[in-house]
Symmetry: C2
Subunit: 335 residues, 2 copies
């Protein structure tokens, strides 16, 4: 009998289609192997082509002065960085001017690298850059919400092969985030009065154990009870905090380790699948909020949303979350 | 300057990226033309292969007794039709048994047809079948919500080429639908006190004219003010009603005409693009609800959701809705 599980964090029901559940191996994405060079002369993100990107906003550099990670404005930004916020409040035709920030974080000079294979220190640098840019974005008073995300592979929406993440600051607060925040606030004040939904949920996952993939001193990676797709992974900080920007250097070390390992498990187990990940966070102004908890969601692109998902917001997961977790947990990582 | 527009129906902000807006022609999906035969011996939906599908639940037949449209249980249903609803209410681990109905509506005997090219009477038959199955599904007391949808083309999630739609009855009410319903109820009682959000919104679109694509006595097809993607089209009934199941035979005639024409405009203008459409409706039990209004949403697959959409629920539309509407309006339909 299939189960329809409720995700208490997203408020979405997910159909766990156990009747047609696939084995983890069935999701193996057999890609044509193509040899990718470490340097591509025409790639705007490769070293030597720095003049092909807009002026760098920040970088981390090696002792010899060459960059290791850099952030640059997105040349094809969906929003415009210069301008005032204008609001139009006509009934049913409300808009706000499309002012916002959109940067690309170039994760490594090497064109053919991927997070799973990067040295740990390099993953740490990327996470340091996330923190730096997030805090900088929120200093702009026009920005109401910031999202950090990565699209890896064509089916995940990447147009450029060179490893990069993106960060977008919008002049509005997204409806989906508002709905989740509302649910978290309601839980804090009216259900669990005084307990963070995310903290208590994490406790349940830790007690259950069977969906935990990996944990360290500061973070826990698991497949949520109502995972929306096979190998959907959440990484929760153990320490309650609503904003990623407050992460300490020591915590960045722990996060780099668990993020790299999870991506490496996916890389080995599913042969370098396309994936998206997002950092869900409130602003530093809301960092002390007791009801919200920042986290990272990783969604490998092994299934496709169609009319059913579009019309209901519900997902059909053709793998048991417990099986997905076990598969990823059992991957042997190279020493 | 780009605009960030608010969709009052979905509650979502959409970035209308006018700065990088494409011309309608840029969305032309150059597909490899392959000759599709009208009959495929191995296709379970082709005439003569009726024994390859589960037992038919309903059909419309010609004078000679052969079927014209038929509905059959989905062989690979995500939910199971037999069984009792069991509820598990453990904190953070709530589930309900995956009992539900899932049928395929085979839209025509011809393997190589598509709605845009079908005779009008055949489109009417499909819509009659939607009404019939919707009402039948809701007679099952275990069913809380029913969604009718169509996936056309591989990128829209079709696995079978033979033209078909699907109808799914779930034992839960989807969170996304609940959020929209909540917004509609709030509008009815606390904003517009006594006016349906959808009715007044339609009035605004009719007054503005510039996003209207086509209208007839009973229906209006338009690109919404905050369309979430290029060529996103909504078809609203003029008459207020919360449930598709109440549609009259005369209204089905009008709907068939406008639906066929819109799909034909897409077929001609974008060279048979992949698309999804969904019928959003409440149950016949809620048909009299003054605050909800059934409608059809059509989303051509001309853009791709990635990390940004996943993490915010916001969309980036690289076409002006007004331009999309004009492009579709200006397509000359064959006489």
């Amino acid at each position: 009998m299939p189960e329809v599980r409720l995700n208490p964090i997203t408020g979405d029901w997910v159909i766990i289609a156990t009747e047609r559940a696939k084995r983890p191996e069935d999701f193996l994405h057999k890609k044509e192997k193509k040899e990718i060079p470490s340097f591509v002369p025409t790639c705007p993100f490769c070293p030597g082509n720095e003049d092909k990107t807009p002026t760098e906003t920040h970088s981390f550099r090696g002792d010899d002065g060459t960059w290791l990670v850099r952030s640059v404005p997105n040349k094809f930004s969906a929003l415009t960085p210069v301008g005032e916020i204008l609001k139009h409040k006509e009934k049913f035709k409300q808009y706000i001017s499309g002012v916002g920030l959109h940067e690309v974080i170039i994760e490594t000079p090497a064109h053919n690298m991927t997070t799973a294979l990067l040295p740990l220190e390099q993953v740490e640098r990327i996470l340091h850059m996330y923190r730096h840019r997030l805090l900088a974005f929120y200093e702009d008073n026009r920005i109401e919400h910031v999202i950090i995300f990565k699209n890896h592979g064509a089916s995940a929406g990447t147009s450029l092969e060179h490893p990069h993440s993106q960060i977008v600051g919008t002049p509005v607060f997204p409806g989906q985030v508002m709905n989740r925040l509302g649910e978290a606030i309601r839980n804090y004040y009216y259900v669990d009065f005084g307990e963070c939904l995310y903290c208590s949920y994490l406790e349940t996952e830790l007690n259950d154990k069977e969906r935990i993939i990996e944990q360290n001193d500061a973070f826990v990676a698991f497949t949520p009870y109502a995972a929306l797709s096979p190998f959907h992974v959440w990484i929760f900080p153990r320490k309650h905090c609503a904003c990623y920007g407050m992460i300490s250097d020591a915590e960045i070390k722990s996060l780099a380790s668990i993020l790299k390992n999870i991506l490496l498990r996916l890389y080995i187990g599913l042969d370098n699948p396309d994936f998206n990940y997002v950092v869900r966070t409130l602003s530093p102004r809301g960092a002390d909020a007791k009801y919200f908890h920042w986290y990272i969601a990783i969604v490998p692109r092994v299934s496709q949303a169609a009319g059913f998902e579009l019309g209901t917001g519900m997902f059909i997961n053709t793998a048991l979350p417990e099986t997905s977790a076990q598969f990823l947990r059992d991957i042997v990582l190279p020493a």
